[in-house]
């Protein structure tokens, strides 16, 4: 379907380009006369590219805006400002038929396999539902056959077509969600915590399936998750979000082995390592304090209230997401985009020992 990918970024084409994307949810008070008293700055100026055939992982703490980004990419939420270019066209401005055409190519798989499927619909109806909106993909007579094919692709028995969601386990339900996401032959699938609700053993089955389908159909994934080891396994590049902004973005090696943003360093050091030997060796950065409210984020660098390196400048000047000047022109893996005034490498022992098994 797609030509083989070379790993050279220069020769790769972005399929999705996100520029200064902003989503503010208004905070109102009063019942009759709603007065706007502020806004939750859920996503506050995010830019990144998604290349054809790659997986971009997005990680970050609860409430940092990951799901909101996903919904903005799907155009399920109206952006406050900013652009999302799909093959050069800004989809935040599309409506009607043009939007429908684009939507066909960008699909979503949701977190919760227990609640995201309608319990009253059969599996066949759930997977075939997108054909109601896009009948051109599968003419009426072909639908059942197409649904059976999709069931087969995701490793479910096509005979199960008339069963209901409650008759399936969590992992099987997530497969149903993936089959529905594939129904319209999309190019991009946005996965919002697709395996977070599953057990380790079932998680591995679903991740393997997703990788297989990517190879087979040349799909591009945005993979949102809070399990950093799963994200590393599946991603080509990883973006780290904090409080509505992107703190750091780079290839998986750049982020996991050469993080330069203090937040990424803290995040990686806090990941529990499945190796009791590492207990004593690990040097963890325990962050103090709680994540500030996105309705009232700190000035300057959003991470400064918890950052051990914060200085005066961090409160005044917002650090931009760019290759830090200290690394400019260097071909070290530390030379990737990081939004910190004092970006520097730090050996994060915990993350390094994951591979020591």
């Amino acid at each position: 379907m797609t030509e083989p990918l070379t790993r050279e970024p220069a020769s790769r084409k972005p399929i999705l380009q996100v520029r200064n994307l902003v989503k503010h949810f208004p905070l109102t008070r009063g019942i009759l006369f709603k007065k706007e008293i502020g806004a939750v700055k859920a996503v506050d100026g995010i830019s990144f590219d998604l290349y054809a055939g790659e997986t971009l992982g997005i990680v970050g703490e609860s409430g940092c805006g990951k799901s909101t980004v996903a919904k903005l990419l799907m155009n399920l939420e109206q952006a406050t400002s900013g652009e999302v270019f799909y093959k050069g066209e800004d989809i935040t401005r599309l409506s009607g038929r043009a939007l429908k055409a684009v939507r066909r190519n960008i699909q979503m798989v949701f977190q919760d396999p227990y609640t995201s499927l309608n319990p009253r619909m059969t599996v066949g109806d759930i997977i075939g539902e997108p054909f109601d909106i896009h009948p051109e993909v599968a003419p009426k007579g072909d639908r059942r056959a197409r649904v059976r094919e999709l069931l087969d692709v995701v490793g479910l028995n096509p005979e199960y077509i008339n069963r209901y969601p409650h008759q399936f386990s969590g992992g099987q339900r997530q497969r149903i969600g993936i089959a529905r996401g594939l129904a319209l032959n999309p190019e991009i699938i946005i996965c919002d915590e697709p395996v977070s609700a599953l057990d380790v053993s079932v998680q591995a089955q679903v991740v393997n399936l997703m990788e297989k389908l990517q190879d087979e159909f040349g799909l591009s994934y945005v993979f949102i998750a809070h399990d950093l080891s799963i994200v590393r396994h599946i991603s080509d590049r990883v973006g780290v979000m904090y409080l509505g902004r992107m703190a750091e973005i780079g290839t998986d090696t750049e982020i996991y082995e050469h993080p330069t943003h203090p937040y990424t360093q803290a995040l990686l050091s806090a990941v529990p390592v499945p190796d009791p030997q590492a207990r004593e060796r690990r040097e963890r950065i325990i962050l103090t304090g709680d994540v500030p409210s996105p309705a009232n984020p700190p000035s300057g660098c959003r991470f400064r209230t918890r950052c051990w390196k914060a200085e005066e400048r961090c409160a005044q000047e917002t650090p931009l997401l760019a290759v830090p000047s200290v690394f400019a022109g260097s071909d070290s893996p530390a030379a990737h985009e990081s939004a910190c005034h004092f970006a520097a490498e730090k050996d994060v022992v915990g993350s390094a020992s994951v591979d020591a098994a």
Binding site: Q172, D199, H233, P274, D275
Partner: protein, 341 residues
């Protein structure tokens, strides 16, 4: 029995009776689809100052066992059909209700997974903490309040004095979980059962909460039963591990041995499914098949339909917990082969 834990060394208190011991516990639920055998002969024990991690996939009976210990099992549909729960050697299932009440909630406390739903949304955090002291220790409002502030300080809620009147929704997830820990600690229990205490939290907050729990445990020399499915958290804090599958303990071991050399194919499969760096770009190892239906648990070894090592005998004979060295056990006919390769 003079089993001293070598790793915790001299510091480990040596006592002949464990703080808590569960023996051959069986619990079933009567459901529309039949009898679900959720717990099928669980044995585990924990000493003062020790952390036992209970591991296993969703539905393996971890929480039901804990609920039975705490006396909060839904009965009906739940039914305890067999077994003993010994606290300092005394069976809680046969003692008088009066005696039991003195233990549960006071000497054994529980922390639940979802802090928001286990706190009452219409009462202030301070009131709910204070209630522990008013009800159990007959303190006055004023005394209880002072105690509550002290506890909130202890679990590091900043500006405890000012925040004592706040409601649960005004606290972050991590802070709410710390309030739950404070409540569990209020009466200085000897044993804490923590059921997925950090599953709903972020890694950075999770690290804060687990550190706090470990520190307080040391300070009070409490026993801790930590229920989780996070193999990383277990490696970080546990002294010993009990792995559950289909309502039974399939492997028990000190923490170091099990990660290095699992003695049960299920444990081995779990450990192998963790993504590792050197496997990037390859398929993850996945245990094949599905968790068993508890109304129709496979005969013989319950794991046999999914086990890569299964032989004919596995479908017919239930494997007992074979001793593997002094402190370990594996409920597998072929534990030697499992540990060997």
């Amino acid at each position: 029995m003079t089993v001293t834990d070598e790793r915790t060394g001299a510091a480990a208190p040596v006592s002949t009776t464990p703080l808590l011991e569960v023996r051959d516990l069986h619990v079933e639920f009567h459901t529309r689809d039949g009898v679900a055998r959720a717990v099928n002969g669980v044995d585990y024990s924990v000493n003062a100052g020790e952390t036992l991690a209970v591991l296993g996939e969703s539905g393996s009976g971890k929480s039901v066992t804990a609920q039975t210990i705490m006396g909060i099992l839904d009965m009906p549909p739940g039914r305890i059909t067999q077994g003993e729960i010994l606290f300092h050697g005394q069976d809680m299932l046969t003692m008088s209700a009066e005696q039991r009440r003195k233990i549960r909630g006071r000497k054994i406390a529980m922390i639940f997974q979802d802090a928001l739903s286990s706190l009452n949304p219409v009462l202030s955090v301070g009131y709910q903490l204070g209630e522990m002291f008013r009800v159990h220790q007959g303190m006055s409002r004023k005394q209880a309040r002072a105690k509550s502030i002290e506890l909130m300080d202890r679990v590091r809620i900043p500006a405890a004095k000012e925040r004592i009147g706040d409601y649960p929704h005004q606290f972050s997830g991590g802070m709410r979980q710390r309030i739950m820990i404070a409540m569990a600690l209020a009466l200085e229990p000897e044993l804490i059962i923590a059921d997925e205490p950090t599953t709903a939290l972020d890694v950075t907050v999770q690290a804060q909460v687990m550190d706090l729990l470990a520190e307080l445990q040391r300070e009070y020399n409490m026993g801790l039963i930590l229920i989780t499915h996070d193999l990383g958290v277990v490696a970080d804090v546990a002294d010993k591990i009990a792995v559950m599958y289909a309502g039974r303990i399939v492997e028990t071991s000190p923490v170091h041995d099990i990660y290095a050399r699992p003695a049960h194919p299920y444990t081995k499969g779990l450990l192998r499914s963790i993504p590792r760096l050197d496997q990037k770009g390859q398929e993850l190892y996945a245990i094949k098949g599905l968790p068993p239906n508890l109304t129709r648990i496979p005969g013989g070894c319950a794991f046999h339909p999914r086990c890569p090592m299964a032989q004919d005998v596995c479908a017919t004979d239930v494997p007992l917990l074979h001793p593997v060295g002094a402190e370990r056990g594996s409920a597998c006919h072929f534990w030697k082969e499992t540990i060997g390769d």
